[in-house]
């Protein structure tokens, strides 16, 4: 495990060196050294799964089976049909710094295998009970066992082909680290993520996974990455995926890129649905994530992440894989080139793809009387509003149409004249803005019509803001932001008194999701109960909602949409189900969905009620998004603006 290294400054200032009893420098016993090294390699069951799978792939396996018990905490067994290990090399396989994949430093510069350090099995054995059974062609099938610094003799064993490696009771000799493991369900999710990642990158290999005896994955060998990706991501996503492609011919340096990227419709609230592979290795690479985000600029809202599977292949000497202890990061020789390759290829593919959403017509086929293609559908106006949605992120719109962003920016500008304001960061509810094609969304009122407005002490403008006056001047309220904030406070107060009231359903509302999310449901249950949501797994990949808060129902919130978003958010690493933060995050989401939207026309009574909320909300300190719910232009501000002073 990483011992946090205190900064030099704190060492220097904390204790005067002269008062320290200095222990002598000693060489660590080998087991302790290995365990410390293991901390870098083996963090959790998923890291073991990754190392063992990489070994099987390096051994040229065509069929691999993964078995887990208790999320891999009790048992991980990986069986392959690869080249095997001869009996005399078995002790070396468990020894540190022993590998068949690398001979000299020169080879380190062009690694073509997934493993190269000769360290994985040694590290794993230092913290778990390991048994290898293997047969190499022309040799006797044999086995060896190891645990901590103990090693068994090499014995004959019954193995038909390939290698089977078993890892039991991970961290049996380092209890502190065992305690840090999450629930079996979570660990299993992590393990399966690793399996899926490697499966994505190696489509020709058939893969099967069993968790506590139940089959959770069965992938046959595929011809190419597309078929494998669809098998893993789900075929129903196919219409929402755009293929990206750039091969060596495009680039003299022999770099190729292939991938599937999601349409804006399937963008997620976290970056976990982005999978990047370099030469068959799953990596995290901030610069590639950045390139993706850039490619989608203007297509998805800030704060959402495009889904993507990207595979980059390049000659081994174009990339340094020896930069991260768990081999999870790489360093490109020419970082800029890879960045622009991803950016340009994805951007170009998105530009060419038809991103107009297909209108799912709920009722019946269009009657034939309209002939093909000229039916009285609303396609034209919908396409228009969709286009407007994209256009929103462009600077300065000159048309007469209401531009949400421009209004926001203008308000921000006005505001910064008086007081300090936080920038309007979260724009996630902008999609709720008025549909410009609807009859209610009239074009901006020309100034000459202003006097015709009814005399009231408040005014709703563009069905999004309420303008009112108080003793100091003019107050402009963002109707959604204020209502959301008030709802949040009310929900938060309500939930501390007891769970929310919930309405049972006749039959469960079915949410399609992934099997990982289904396994995490159990952890979420106490939180869901407080929220008035009764949900249970219906199948390995579906969740049924059996009861849902009456409040959300009466506000027209769809339980399926809500639940899938909730599962999505709960998938983020930072989401700890029983924490206050998680509760706040979900209440915030509830409040956002239940609150009036920008674009909702409000009656006078509703506006009055909303303005009344202002007092109570502004006093409270907590605020879901940290952005203002109302802004004030004081009379002094106005005087300054009109250059009266």
């Amino acid at each position: 495990m990483h011992t946090p290294i205190p900064s030099l400054a704190s060492i220097h200032w904390a204790v005067p060196p002269s008062t320290l009893q200095r222990p002598a420098i000693r060489v660590l016993p080998p087991l302790v050294a290995d365990q410390i090294a293991a901390g870098e390699v083996v963090e959790r069951p998923a890291s073991v799964v990754k190392e063992l799978l990489e070994n099987a792939l390096d051994a040229g396996a065509t069929r691999i089976e993964v078995e887990l018990a208790q999320g891999g905490i009790e048992l991980i067994r990986i069986t392959d049909d690869g080249a095997g290990i001869p009996p005399d090399e078995l002790p070396l396989a468990l020894a540190a710094h022993a590998t068949s994949k690398l001979r000299d430093a020169e080879e380190l510069a062009r690694i073509g295998t997934l493993g190269f350090r000769g360290e994985a099995l040694a590290s794993i054995t230092s913290v778990a009970r390991v048994r290898i059974r293997s047969v190499a062609p022309g040799h006797e099938p044999s086995e060896i066992e190891g645990a901590g610094d103990q090693r068994s003799a090499v014995r004959p064993a019954a193995v038909a082909r390939g290698t089977s490696i078993e890892v039991r009771t991970l961290f049996f000799n380092t209890p502190a680290r065992r305690r840090f493991l999450r629930t079996p369900a979570t660990e299993q999710t992590r393990c399966m993520e690793v399996v899926r990642d490697l499966a994505l990158a190696h489509p020709a290999v058939a893969l099967r996974a069993l968790c506590d005896g139940r089959e959770t994955l069965d992938l046959r060998a595929e011809q190419g990455p597309r078929a494998r990706a669809l098998a893993i991501l789900g075929r129903e996503l196919e219409d929402n995926l755009v293929e990206v492609h750039a091969d060596e011919q495009h680039d003299a340096r022999g770099v190729s890129l292939w991938g599937l990227v999601g349409t804006p419709a399937v963008a997620r609230s976290n970056a976990r649905a982005q999978r990047v592979f370099v030469n068959g290795r799953a990596v995290r690479d901030p610069s590639i994530q950045h390139a993706l985000r850039e490619a989608y600029r203007g297509l998805i809202e800030p704060g959402r992440y495009p889904t993507a599977v990207l595979m980059i292949d390049l000659p081994p000497d174009g990339v340094d894989v020896n930069v991260h202890p768990a081999k999870a990061e790489v360093r490109f020789r020419d970082q800029g080139m890879v960045h622009s390759l991803v950016l340009n290829t994805v951007r170009e593919a998105l530009r060419r793809a038809d991103l107009t959403p297909t209108l799912a017509h709920r009722t019946g086929a269009r009657p034939a009387i309209f002939g093909p293609g000229d039916g009285p559908t609303d396609t034209a106006s919908d396409a228009q509003s969709f286009a407007d949605y994209f256009r929103r992120d462009l600077p300065a719109s000159t048309g007469g149409r209401f531009d949400y962003q421009a209004v926001r920016d203008a308000l921000d500008r006005v505001l910064t004249m008086g007081s300090k304001v936080e920038p309007a960061g979260d724009a996630s509810d902008e999609r709720e803005r008025p549909d410009p094609a609807s009859p209610e969304a009239a074009p901006a009122t020309p100034a000459s019509q202003l006097e015709a407005l009814p005399r009231r002490d408040h005014l709703q403008v563009h069905q999004s803001y309420v303008v009112a006056q108080d003793d100091d001047g003019v107050v402009i309220v963002d109707q959604h932001a204020l209502h959301e904030r008030a709802m949040f406070e009310a929900l938060h107060a309500r939930i501390t008194a007891g769970p929310l009231e919930s309405q049972s359903l006749l039959t469960p509302a079915v949410v399609d999701t992934s099997s990982e999310r289904v396994t995490r449901l159990e952890e979420l249950t106490p939180l869901l109960e407080r929220l008035g949501i009764d949900a249970a797994a219906l199948s390995p990949s579906t969740v049924g909602v059996r009861a849902f808060p009456t409040l959300l129902f009466s506000r027209g919130v769809d339980p399926i949409d809500f639940m899938s978003e909730l599962l999505d958010r709960a998938d983020a690493d930072a989401f700890v189900p029983d924490s206050e933060e998680a509760l706040r995050e979900v209440l915030d989401m509830m409040a956002c969905k239940a609150a009036v939207k920008a674009g909702d026309r409000l009656t006078d009574a509703e506006i009055g009620a909303l303005l009344e909320l202002r007092g109570s909300v502004e006093r409270s300190t907590s605020c879901p998004h940290g952005r203002p719910t109302s802004v004030r232009l004081t009379l002094a501000d106005l005087e300054r603006l009109f250059e009266r002073r």
């Binding site: 009722t363 009657p367 079915v510």
Partner: protein, 394 residues
């Protein structure tokens, strides 16, 4: 075309047809009403048609004097506004030639620019719905019901349909016909209403048919239904349903014709959600329960919507209560006519109870329960069954 019309009859017809014409469409012809004036043996008829591609309506007005037969295609909105504004007239004259139509009163003349009548999509008649046409297969079932029973079937179910479009709820009512039995079923996922009635004759078509009729179409239909005894012919096709109101036996010359696309998709298996093992049965005076629930609901709000029902089996009493933390609480106690089974406590959305009671016309109803987590059942005779899921009160 030149037709003298009774203004009131014309206004009513235009109002009904305007209900279906499209309001937002790139094809302006679809925002129009088509007028067809015919005269046969001295009897004149003016037929108004409108469509929004999903629903189509044709309505005959007979309080007219057709001086010259012909047709016109006029923007529905303008036509309606003019007829409405001419409220001092007892008759109005419609005169059309070419693409424009004039509305003539005694002191006013309006010329409304329209479109050639041939631009309007043809609306199939009942016969083509039955026999099939180039575009559609013959009907799966054709049968007749009387307007009174049909209207009651609709009223007893339509209130339980989902109010808003959502992914888990269906925006329509199931129509299930089997022999001489017709059933209509509606649900919004939280309650389910089932109404039955019997046909005089099984009609044509083989075997039972099930289809989901859009809520909107049934709302239009209800407005078209008049006299209880008037016959309504129904033709259920592959993806369309057609109603001929006031038609002869073969569906000819109906007073009104309504046709609508059907909702695609499967209706939930509703028989499965009707509980069969309820062990508590309460007989209520309908009006008493209605008033008690209404009063108890006075102190509910959005976050605390439910009303608690506590049944006291020994005392044959029901105590209803509600509590909204920041508002107050309500308690109502009523006597029960009859109570079988142990006492029980259960929460319901009060609106779900009162809405069902409103469509029941018998003075007595039966409520059956099991426990606080299980669905409640309300029955009124054999023809109305209502399942309502409880609210989990905290």
């Amino acid at each position: 075309m030149r037709v003298v019309c009774d203004r009131a009859a014309l206004l009513e017809a235009v109002n009904l047809v305007s209900g279906v014409v499209a309001s937002r469409t790139p094809r302006p012809q679809l925002t129009c009403v088509r007028l067809d004036a015919t005269s046969e043996d001295g009897v004149g008829t003016l037929v108004l048609s409108g469509t929004d591609a999903e629903t189509s309506m044709r309505l005959a007005v007979d309080r007219v004097d057709v001086e010259r037969a012909g047709e016109a295609l006029v923007p529905a909105d303008k036509l309606r506004q003019i007829i409405q504004a001419e409220d001092h007239e007892s008759t109005l004259t419609l005169e059309a030639d070419g693409d424009s139509c004039q509305v003539l009163g005694t002191d006013a003349r309006f010329r409304v620019l329209g479109y050639p009548a041939s631009d309007f999509p043809a609306i199939g008649d009942f016969k083509s719905a039955v026999k099939g046409s180039a575009e559609s297969a013959p009907a799966r079932a054709v049968f007749t019901h009387n307007a009174g029973d049909l209207s009651e079937l609709i009223a007893r179910t339509i209130f339980a349909t989902a109010r808003e479009n959502s992914r888990y709820a269906i925006n329509g009512v199931l129509l299930h016909k089997d022999g001489k039995k017709v059933e209509m079923v509606a649900t919004d996922g939280k309650r389910l209403a089932l109404a039955r009635s019997a046909l005089a004759a099984p009609g044509a078509g083989d075997g039972p048919v099930k289809c989901i009729v859009p809520t909107k179409a049934l709302q239009h239909l209800q407005k078209l239904l008049g006299d209880d005894e008037e016959p309504v012919r129904l033709a259920v096709g592959e993806n369309r349903i057609t109603f001929a109101i006031g038609a002869s036996e073969d569906g000819e010359d109906p007073r009104a014709l309504l046709s609508s696309t059907l909702v695609e998709g499967a209706f939930p298996p509703y028989q499965d959600v009707i509980p069969k093992d309820q062990d508590k049965s309460i007989t209520f005076d309908r009006d008493l329960l209605f008033s008690a629930v209404k009063r108890a609901a006075l102190l509910t709000n959005e976050e605390s919507r439910g009303v608690r029902l506590e049944f006291d089996s020994a005392g044959k009493k029901l105590r209803l209560s509600s509590r909204a933390p920041e508002m107050g609480e309500a308690n109502v106690e009523i006597e029960l006519k009859e109570y079988k089974g142990d006492g029980v406590e259960i929460g319901f959305n009060p609106g779900f109870i009162t809405e069902a009671l409103k469509v029941i016309n018998q003075p007595e109803i039966v409520m059956e329960l099991k426990d606080s987590m299980k669905p409640g059942l309300i029955r009124s005779g054999p023809d109305f069954t209502y399942v309502v899921m409880p609210v989990n009160l905290q």
